[in-house]
């Protein structure tokens, strides 16, 4: 569609005029992604909103523990010039905080509450962001952070069933499976922990 390409150009021009773009990605013919500075977020969003991108499709965060950053993502959409625009920005992982976009998009209220609940990001400007929304009586670090291990939490709190049935037939003298397991464990210890996939 030629039309959508024009729209892409339009968005690019609009965003590049407004702010410095740290990174730009063409995801497909109707989707664009920009990484911008945190301080510019409000400006970019309001410019886009006034240009017709008035639907906030999604707001959330991504945890990058290696960089010690949270990435906050805003996805905007314009139904008349159909281009999805991802606006991303990285904020510090320690005491994360980013100003609420409620004045621009009132619909962001619950998205922000959820992001606070699951990542611990503060949204000053959103009156209710600290209230619990989905979790109840949560007593651990925000669960969507990468350093939270739900499996350990589950093991700690919810016992798993121990079935009485034993289908195994074992032979005292036969240790082949144990030996295998030991060897496997040993081999895995040898790994230098090279580049993880």
């Amino acid at each position: 569609m030629t039309n959508s390409i024009n729209n892409l150009e339009l968005v690019k021009e609009l965003v590049s005029k407004t702010t410095t773009i740290l990174k730009e990605e063409n995801i497909d013919v109707q989707q664009l992604a920009f990484e911008v500075n945190t301080c510019d977020i409000h400006h970019v969003l309001s410019v886009l909103k006034s240009a017709g991108w008035k639907q906030l499709s999604y707001l959330s965060a991504v945890d990058w523990p290696d960089e010690n950053k949270f990435e906050v993502v805003y996805i905007l959409f314009n139904w008349d010039k159909p281009v999805y625009v991802q606006i991303r920005t990285k904020i510090d992982r320690e005491n994360p905080s980013i100003d609420s976009i409620l004045p621009i998009f009132p619909g962001a209220k619950y998205y922000e509450r959820e992001a606070h609940e699951f990542f611990g990001i503060a949204f000053p400007g959103n009156p209710d962001y600290e209230k619990q929304l989905i979790l109840e009586g949560w007593d651990d670090i925000p669960p969507l952070r990468k350093d939270f291990d739900p499996s350990a939490y589950s093991d700690r709190k919810f016992p798993s069933r121990e079935y009485p049935q034993d289908y195994s037939v074992t032979d005292e003298k036969n240790h082949s499976l144990e030996k295998r397991a030991e060897r496997k464990a040993r081999a895995e210890r040898l790994r230098t922990g090279g580049k993880k996939q």
Partner: protein, 368 residues
């Protein structure tokens, strides 16, 4: 007068799904209300990060129970966008058939759900009979009635079984013939029109304020704002269909659009069955066995038109065997949370259940 506290759900016949609407009422008028979500919270987004790309297909349909296929489709297209993977032609058409059948099933369920709040159980029974037939068709195609796990990254899991085209044709012909009966029992029924006319309004500015999409939006803004038209996925740009719209969004308009959309879905399915080419249905995203499939680094958002509106997965991959982050944009998120908080007050208690029903609120996709 003193405010009375009432709660609709979680265990309440008027509440679809496990969520609770807390209401503070004065007489019959709701003064303050909010949705208490989280009863269906399973930590989906966390779970997805912990599962392999291939394993995720068993998890994702569970995000939205009444219409599981949109999850599969959205997940698959998001991954395909990052992979830049070209799906076989036939798979696109099969996907469309599945998605449209799922849309019909979800619409029937929602329309039959009208029987709950208004008490017209016959409508509900009839709708569920037809929905059950769709589930039977799904079972034949995919091997399961509800959680199909059929649309996978790179196509569909297996080809359509022999003779299923005929089953689908028989069903949609029958359904089309009987859509008028659904109108008779529901939106053309005088006693029900009394309940749904000029009530539960959704003005255009509210749509933009909340970010409501789907039928809610189209019934208010009178424009065909349908993801299938605007950002076509699969082969929706190659089929002809109309997007029913309205400029006055009361409960009746939205239900009317639901029935019209069932009609359009039937038309789409017919075209799909006619245009579907032969050929392979699946490509593997990567060499190697499934547990070692990887998706390159990238970000993608894949919007899908669900029965309730724009549904999308925001996917981030860091090149590993599992997604790095999957965010789910539930279609009912705006109206379900902020909508109930801001616009349910002012209506009557009687309307609360109907409000939840006709706005298309699906609690599992809010909670995840």
């Amino acid at each position: 007068m003193k405010e009375m506290k009432l709660f609709l759900g979680p265990q309440h016949p008027g509440m679809h799904g496990n969520a609770s609407v807390h209401m503070f009422v004065d007489g019959d008028i709701i003064k303050r209300s909010y949705l208490l979500p989280g009863m269906l919270h399973r930590g989906f987004e966390k779970q997805m990060e912990r599962k392999l790309w291939v394993n995720n297909i068993s998890l994702i349909p569970r995000v939205c129970v009444p219409e599981p296929d949109i999850n599969e489709m959205s997940f698959a297209t998001a991954a395909e966008k990052i992979l830049k993977l070209e799906v076989p032609e036939r798979a696109h058409w099969i996907r469309m058939i599945i998605l449209e059948l799922a849309r019909i099933s979800a619409h029937l369920m929602a329309y039959g759900g009208l029987g709950g709040p208004t008490g017209n159980y016959t409508l509900m029974y009839h709708a569920h009979v037809d929905r059950n037939l769709i589930l039977d068709i799904f079972e034949k195609i995919t091997g399961a009635r509800v959680y199909h796990q059929y649309i996978v990254i790179g196509g569909v899991r297996q080809d359509l079984p022999d003779g299923i085209e005929e089953d689908i044709n028989v069903f949609i012909d029958d359904l089309e013939r009987r859509l008028v009966e659904y109108r008779d029992l529901g939106i053309d029924n005088a006693s029900i029109v009394k309940r749904i006319k000029d009530t539960i309004m959704l003005p255009e500015e509210v749509v933009w304020e909340l970010g409501v999409t789907g039928i809610g939006m189209r019934s208010a803004v009178n424009k065909p704002y349908d993801v299938r038209k605007v950002v076509p996925y699969a082969r929706y740009d190659q089929v002809e269909f109309e997007v029913p719209v309205s400029d006055y969004s009361d409960a009746r308009a939205r239900l009317d659009i639901k029935i019209k959309e069932i009609q359009q879905s039937i038309i789409i399915i017919r075209q799909c069955l006619a245009k579907m080419p032969e050929g392979p249905v699946r490509v593997k995203p990567d060499r190697g066995q499934s547990m070692r499939w990887t998706v390159p680094k990238g970000y993608a958002y894949a919007p899908i038109e669900s029965s309730r509106g724009e549904f999308g997965y925001y996917m981030v991959s860091n090149g590993g065997t599992s997604p790095w982050r999957v965010g789910v944009r539930g279609a009912s998120y705006p109206q379900g949370l902020l909508g109930i908080e801001k616009y349910l007050p002012g209506t009557r208690i009687d309307d609360a259940a109907l409000w939840v029903d006709t706005m298309g609120i699906c609690s599992p996709e809010i909670d995840r």
